[in-house]
Amino acid sequence: MHVSPAESIDAMRAVATVGFEERGILRDTLLLTLAKSEDEKKALGACFDLFFAQPQPTATKQSADDESAAVSGLQSAPSAGGGQQPQDLGPLAQMLLSQDTAEIAAAIANAAGAAGLAEIRYFTQRGIFQSRMLQEMGIQRLNDDLDELTATNPALAERLTAATDALRETVRDRVAQALLLYGREEAENLRNEILRNAPLARIEPRQVEQMRALIRRMARRLRERFSKPRKRQRRGHLDVRRTLRRNAAWGGVPFLTAWKRKHRDKPKIVALCDVSGSVARVSDFFLLLIHSLHEVVSDVRSFAFSGHLIEVSDILETEAAEEAMRDIMSKVGFGSSDYGSCFADFERQWMASVTPQTTVIVLGDARSNNLDPGADILRRISERSKRVVWLNPEGRLTWGFGDSEMPRYATFCNVVRQCATAQQLERAVTDIVATYH
């Protein structure tokens, strides 16, 4: 969430007018002034609740009877001659014994500030922050007091022990809450960062769901960036109506001209996706990506192939990602790839869809099982189109070894990229869409 200085000033002004006596109104006010979308509202609301859900000191856990007894005990203690004892105790012990929750809460808050609790990021840091906070509050002195009291005044010592346990518990809750508040995002970022850079083929099944979520988010980002109304080019035909109006003051003599605006080239993409056995582990992600392309760009035609090639635009257009992927895989998936005959299929039936504005994307490992690679067909496709982009999930080192025909294809491609991680995938797609803007 981005909050600019101007916004925080506005928020402060708003809070100043409504006051902060009532938490609900304060929450509404901050949501109104700081959040700028429904998602942000949810996040900010959760953050607000978390921040104000600071655990109350639980020193008053004893039952009412106990407490009154304790209070009378405390009052009677000085009169009973042991009056000096509480005075000898350290400030923390006195605070705990007096059951002053407000003061204890303030002390905890101070200790949290001194220990830099807002810096907590990972759950492994909980222990160190707990002990730091207790240190700040004077746990050392408290322990000494406890030892002393156990010898001199066992009843009081028992109460102090209970209070100390309660204090520890409160501090622990406070640290856990701070971790939730400050650390959650960090943990998520770390996980996403690792996933983004992990090779798609080596992702474990349990991570697949997260990976999909990540790619979906990527698609949304692309959509947000590129689905805005396209910049229009000025200068086209003369806009007669606006020109006449603009020049009415000069008796209709056109001094100033107004032009109709012309639309720019819309992105046109033809995507060919290999779904054969050799790339089975990554084809899922490729399809997901093409699916998201369909959402970003209006003119996409996509094809899937292994042994032969079929058009899958309709499936990707109409069905949800998961179903579409299942559908496509059951139709052509997992075969052994034959690039040559697939390119031939494409040339025979769909070559007309490639125009000089079209970007052709091929997603595949270029392993054609030693069959005819059909590189000349790719050359013809390349000549007809604006450009050909090849995204290969294999590393550059393996290109050309075994049955890989990558070097031969590469001569006819404008861009050849390795595309093994989510991040590379995102960059590649961003570049492709960006050339049209």
Binding site: H2, S4, A6, E7, D10, R13, A14, T17, V18, G24, I25, D28, T29, L31, L32, T33, A35, K36, S37, E38, K41, E224, S227, K228, P229, R245, A248, A249, G251, G252
Partner: protein, 315 residues
């Protein structure tokens, strides 16, 4: 009316809107109160039919202010939203002045002097007389202030948003020929959006962001009560609870508050005293606007009606 006095408190806003038949949640009331206090526009987002436009109307009639509405659509430009020159009038005046030209320039000895004289009324054509104020400029010119409703801002082009920025933050517009025109009294500005496209950050930053969702059951009952006075309490409870069950279904378009009110009116017209299966099935098309939604809801009607009746009996 109290247009000159500042708003007293959030509760006052709530009761003021209620007096106009608009039952506001506390969040809405807070937003209205704040927008008045710190002079910021409110950007209202939410699904269709939850009372975004209605809110502006209620504020206007409560405060006794004129409401100026600007309906946004694709291709809306400053000539339609802000101001336009009265071309016909300008043209007419030029024609008339042509005849007068000789008289005016009669006194001039040299070409230079004639030009001087022409300069003097050259500016006349671009003066306030010839400006045709459109909604945005009108709103700034109201001496008593007004409520300016910019409806469905998400339908307009991105360029139009930028045009709004000056008005929203400083309540003024700049007309190249005339200079800056500031508001007589800052209007209460309400923008509504159905989130069809993402609005720019610059626009969002200048507004209080209010999201109105579907109301809670209690609130919705109060809304129905205020809008459809003839309805019995029993029917009202059943109806609202039925609609809340309908909203749990996966529908193309969820019934919103306006549909609830329409349906309540229909049921009152049909003189229903409580919710019955047959009646619900017959009038479901008031509530659901897609054939597929009606089909999806039909099998659930019986259970929902029964549970609505039960809830009412106990609650």
């Amino acid at each position: 009316m109290s247009q000159q006095k500042p708003l007293a408190s959030i509760a006052a806003v709530e009761s003021g809107l209620a007096s106009q038949g608009y039952i506001a949640s506390r969040q809405i009331a807070t937003a209205v109160y704040l927008s008045e206090q710190i002079a910021k526009p409110i950007l209202v987002e939410g699904p269709a039919g939850v009372g975004k436009t209605e809110l502006a109307k209620a504020i206007a009639s409560w405060r006794g202010l004129k409401m100026i509405r600007l309906q946004c659509y694709e291709g809306l430009d400053e000539a339609k939203a802000l101001y336009e020159w009265k071309y016909a009038k300008q043209l007419l005046y030029t024609q008339i002045l042509k005849d007068k030209l000789g008289e005016v320039l009669g006194g001039a000895e040299t070409l230079h002097a004639a030009l001087e004289q022409l300069h003097d009324f050259g500016d006349v054509f671009f003066s306030k007389e010839f400006v045709e104020p459109r909604p945005l400029l009108q709103a700034l010119q109201q001496p008593k202030g007004c409520v300016l409703l910019i409806d469905e801002i998400d339908k307009s082009d991105a360029e139009f948003e930028s045009l709004l920025l000056e008005i929203l933050s400083d309540f003024q517009v700049s007309i190249p020929e005339l200079g800056t025109i500031a508001a007589a009294l800052p209007p209460t500005v309400i923008l509504t959006s159905n989130s069809e496209r993402n609005l720019g950050d610059a626009l969002k930053r200048r507004c209080l962001h209010l999201h109105i969702g579907f109301p809670e059951q209690k609130l919705e009952e109060r809304i129905v009560e205020s809008r459809v006075p003839g309805i019995s309490e029993k029917l009202r409870g059943q109806l609202v609870s039925f609609i809340h069950s309908i909203r749990t279904l996966d529908l193309k378009k969820q019934p919103s508050v306006s549909e609830t009110i329409d349906w309540a009116r229909v049921l009152v017209l049909l003189q229903a005293s409580e919710l019955g299966h047959e009646m619900v099935k017959d009038t479901l098309n008031v509530l659901l606007k897609y054939e597929s939604d009606v089909e999806a809801a039909l099998p659930h009607v019986t259970t929902f009606v029964a549970s609505a009746g039960r809830r009412n009996a106990f609650g």
